[in-house]
């Protein structure tokens, strides 16, 4: 993570003095974007850099659903299965994804291309069902649209 410190310094300059503790979430997010996950060495580096207790970083990592300690597939598919999405066919979509990819939610395909996850309300109920692919929302999804999307991602 040391190569990210110049970026962290810029970030810090935007916060009031004494807000080092607040930097834990943005720094962890940036590290994860860079490496794909948060490694033990990153935690060590962040403890040194921010001067916060190690347990604070460990707690943050285990609490927030978006943070992870292990690598995942190149494309992270997160299908919402909350109330409205379920009312607009999300359960059938998730079954289809699971079958097509040959993995259950929470798993990664053996070639490391796709990781399938379920998500709780993504705030996209008006355009349900929604599937996130990495950071992007794909709204008003259907089995057909999902198949086309997977074909594109597979080939890219």
């Amino acid at each position: 993570m040391k190569h990210l410190i110049p970026e962290f310094e810029k970030l810090k300059a935007r916060f009031p003095a004494g807000f080092e503790s607040s930097l834990v979430l943005p720094c962890v997010r940036r590290i994860q974007e860079d490496r794909g996950f948060v490694a033990d060495a990153d935690i060590d580096g962040l403890v040194d850099y921010l001067g916060v207790p190690r347990i604070q970083i460990e707690e943050v990592l285990s609490y927030y659903t978006q943070f992870r300690r292990k690598a995942i597939g190149r494309w992270h598919l997160q299908a919402c299965r909350n109330v409205t999405c379920s009312m607009r066919s999300a359960e059938r979509l998730i079954d289809h994804l699971s079958q097509r990819l040959g993995v259950a939610p929470g798993q990664t395909t053996p070639d490391g291309v796709f990781t399938l996850s379920t998500a709780e309300c993504l705030g996209s109920c008006g355009t349900a069902p929604v599937v996130m692919v990495n950071d992007a929302y794909h709204e008003n999804m259907s089995v057909e649209k999902l198949d086309r999307l997977l074909d594109e991602l597979q080939g890219s």
Partner: protein, 432 residues
């Protein structure tokens, strides 16, 4: 449109969210005028007089919240816009973040001036991608134009803003959980008192307002409290953004004037139910509000008093329209799975109770329900009510009791017959 509009007043185009478009609509003129001609306390007075209600779910008057902050107490004050929109069924703040980010920022500057805030924050949920990009682009534009930073518009007032991203936690939408998260920790809610306006972010007085609440400030200061109170009803001034979804013909975000007839909203403005199916019931304001049957909701008007009279709440404005033929047992299962997943684990009644209720409903759906399971769900709901630091324990109870009270026979049928009365269907009569 359902009544007068205060926020959705311009056509949304590919560029309507930019600073240039906002300035062309008269943007930042209110800030310029307020900084030059109003004292900070005058801004708070106007907001208090307007009767503006909080639009995050609790409908607490914004002016009363602001009034707790003492201006000359020789310590920093903070303002935080709550953009951690996560109550299932709610996606209205997204509309503001994506389409009117400068309206939010100008309003936050006015609020910061009123509350003498040097550092303001927007806490936005980590999954929001386009809203985050639109908002951060707007922040950069506003800094470049001199609306943030030191000595804004040469008035001596200085204010900075940071957009802070969450990382996936429903509880962070609760104001004190949000501040714990903004301090770089787990999003654990905190006991009150002390109120956050007394001891909030890093123990300093902090006002946390919902995005939509704040977005109304610029209009209130521009046109005055009296003009604002002319919209809506005597007890509910103004409008509320409603995000409607589910088995409805035209889902989306609507700005609804308080007092507007619900039947007209649902069956005319929203185009009625998808493919003309009959309405079974509605989740009125996010899943943590009690469902209302079609017969209960149709005579109501859109305001807090009307919905409270029917035993529910407008909450966050996240409406979900549910068609006849939908299995309420499965629907409650989806809700309880969600609450169990999102319990932060701090309080025993919620941490254990959510899991317990989730296991009971899973057991019913697996055909292994016991006749006493319904009473157990009621009992656990009661055990959680008012027994936890934040309102999540209560909320799960409302959702559960609301459905059990009105659709108990569906639960009894599944337990007795070991299968759903409605084939476990969640998609209504018309499948996508």
């Amino acid at each position: 449109m359902p009544g007068k509009q205060l926020l959705m007043t311009f056509p949304v185009t590919a560029t309507s969210h930019t600073l240039a478009a906002y300035l062309a609509r008269g943007g930042y003129a209110t800030l310029r005028r307020a900084l030059a001609t109003m004292k900070p306390e005058d801004v708070t007075k106007e907001v208090t007089a307007s009767g503006l209600l909080g639009h995050g779910g609790a409908a607490f008057p914004a002016g009363r919240k602001w009034g707790v902050v003492h201006l000359n107490d020789h310590q920093p004050h903070y303002l935080c816009a709550n953009a951690d929109e996560g109550e299932p069924g709610t996606f209205k703040d997204r509309w503001i973040l994506e389409n009117a980010p400068h309206l939010l920022l100008e309003s936050m500057l006015l609020a910061s001036y009123a509350l003498q805030v040097r550092n303001a924050f927007v806490y936005i949920r980590g999954e929001f991608d386009l809203p985050y990009r639109r908002l951060t682009a707007a922040v950069e534009e506003a800094y470049a134009a001199g609306y943030f930073g030191e000595d804004i518009l040469g008035t001596g007032f200085s204010c900075d803003v940071v957009v802070y991203r969450g990382a996936g936690s429903y509880v962070c939408g609760e104001a004190s959980g949000l501040l714990s998260s903004l301090e770089g920790k787990r999003g654990y809610p905190r006991n009150r008192p002390p109120r956050l306006t007394v001891q909030g972010l890093f123990k300093r007085p902090t006002v946390v307002n919902n995005v939509e609440t704040l977005a109304n400030i610029a209009g209130i200061i521009a046109h005055g409290a009296e003009a604002y109170k002319k919209v809506g009803t005597a007890k509910c001034p103004g409008t509320q953004l409603v995000s409607i979804s589910g088995h409805i013909a035209r889902p989306g975000v609507y700005e609804v004037e308080y007092g507007y007839p619900m039947a007209q909203f649902l069956f005319e403005d929203c185009g009625g139910m998808l493919a003309g199916q009959p309405l079974k019931c509605i989740v009125p304001g996010g899943i943590s509000t009690k469902v209302l049957t079609a017969a209960e909701v149709e005579p109501l008007t859109f305001d807090h008093q009307s919905f409270a009279g029917a035993g529910s709440s407008l909450g966050s404005g996240g409406m979900i329209a549910i068609a006849e033929g939908t299995c309420m047992v499965r629907l409650l299962q989806v809700m309880l799975r969600f609450y169990h997943h999102e319990s932060c684990g701090q309080c025993t009644p919620c941490r254990e109770g959510m899991g317990w209720m989730h296991r009971i409903i899973d057991r019913i759906v697996a055909g292994q329900g016991q006749p006493e399971d319904i009473d157990s769900l009621y009992r656990i709901s009661r055990l959680q009510d008012g027994m936890t630091i934040c309102g999540m324990g209560d909320a799960a109870g409302y959702a559960t009791v609301g459905i059990l009270d009105k659709y108990r026979s569906e639960f009894e049928y599944w337990i007795r017959e070991k299968h759903s009365q409605l084939e476990g269907n969640l998609e209504g009569a018309v499948h996508a």
